[in-house]
């Protein structure tokens, strides 16, 4: 279980000719296994924070420490490997690879790691059963409903048993009931596997049920 420590995180990036100050000095500690909601208005820097926590974006200044290890001190190659093993992402718009079946999408992180195809397939089948998609494995994303696609995304993020699960508006694009199902699933994985769960959400109801909420406004924690 990874403890994530964020120290004085700054991030600005260029959007066209405009400079966006997305994060203006964030200090946080996420305890291992803890479910956390990140809330705040649009443009508050929630997605940027999640991207940096998941190491797909580099901060302009500041550090992110996983169990005391400064992740951005790693080379790109090591960072990719670290991301593959440690972090699972679930995005708002599912972000599945459209040409591949649910099973293949779920296998993908394992294949990237170099797991044997047969073993990856076995693990993917297991986890798809777990998220309730046992009968949907050979369907492509286009043939799945929004809720089912998001379940595949959850299954994919979990196949390598990451220490941290980062979900960016995982229910934002789903109707209430389906969103609730996906949320329950995320929470179940957090409880059963002790995965640190960080959910960005606009959904007050979901945020209210998590023991800890981090409120971002204008790139700062309030």
């Amino acid at each position: 279980m990874a403890e994530i420590r964020v120290e004085n995180l700054l991030k600005s990036y260029k959007q066209g000719s405009r400079r966006v100050e997305a994060l203006r000095g964030i200090d946080l500690v996420f305890n291992g296994g803890e479910p956390v909601a990140v809330i705040g208005p649009s443009g508050a820097g929630k997605t940027t924070l999640i991207h940096i926590l998941g190491t797909i974006d580099r901060p302009s200044a500041g550090r992110v420490l996983y169990d005391g290890r400064d992740v951005f001190a790693m080379s790109d190659r090591d960072l990719a490997r670290f991301r593959n093993r440690t972090v699972g992402f679930v995005f708002q718009f599912h972000h599945l690879l459209l040409e591949f079946t649910a099973l293949e999408n779920t296998m993908m992180p394992a294949l990237i790691q170099g797991v044997q195809r047969r073993e990856a397939k076995g693990r993917a089948q297991e986890i798809l059963e777990e998220v309730g998609l046992g009968d949907r494995m050979t369907h492509k994303p286009g043939e799945l409903s929004g809720g089912e696609q998001q379940r595949v995304a959850v299954a994919r993020s979990l196949i390598l048993e990451p220490q941290v699960l980062l979900a960016d508006e995982p229910t934002g694009n789903l109707d209430r009931e389906t969103g609730e199902g996906v949320y329950q699933l995320l929470q179940q994985m957090n409880r059963e596997k002790g995965i640190t769960l960080i959910i960005v959400t606009h959904n007050e109801e979901i945020a209210g049920r998590l023991p800890r909420r981090i409120h971002l406004v204008d790139g700062r924690v309030v």
Binding site: Y13, T47, T48, H51, G54, I56, D57, D76, R77, A80, R81, F82, R83, N84, R85, V87, F89, F91, Q92, F93, H95, L96, L97, L98, M108, P109, I112, Q113, R156
Partner: protein, 158 residues
Amino acid sequence: MNRNFFKALKMEKIAMFIILTLIVFVAALAIVTTLIMVVMGKTRDIAILKSMGATTSSIMKIFIFEGLLIGVVGTIVGTILGLLIAYNLEGITQFLEGLFRFKFLPGDVYYIDELPSTVRPLDVVLIDGIAFLLSFLATLYPSRKAAGLDPAEALRYE
């Protein structure tokens, strides 16, 4: 008299070589543009793969592989068609001449009245090699572009 004739032939061969090189160059550019389009269309997928921990070099390999596949298939198809035409040139010219009632090389104007054609294995190997090399070079720029893509930026704007 024969010396002039061979000089002209040699000149013609150089001209042909330049023209063919230009054609191959255009074909290689076609691979570049096709791959750039593919890379642009796959921006989202590249970002997803990177978010799952795919390395920059593995993304680059995917696109180099795709480019080489285009190059290899193109070279093989081109070689087969080229050889078929070269071996059957006489028949083909006769057919075309019959079709259009026209003589490519009238005997009373030129020294020869048919297009000579020989397949030289070394030339075939050389040209295939160059075509393959060029298609490999053509993949480098788009693949590098794909691999260097910033996943956070691609995922930020939905």
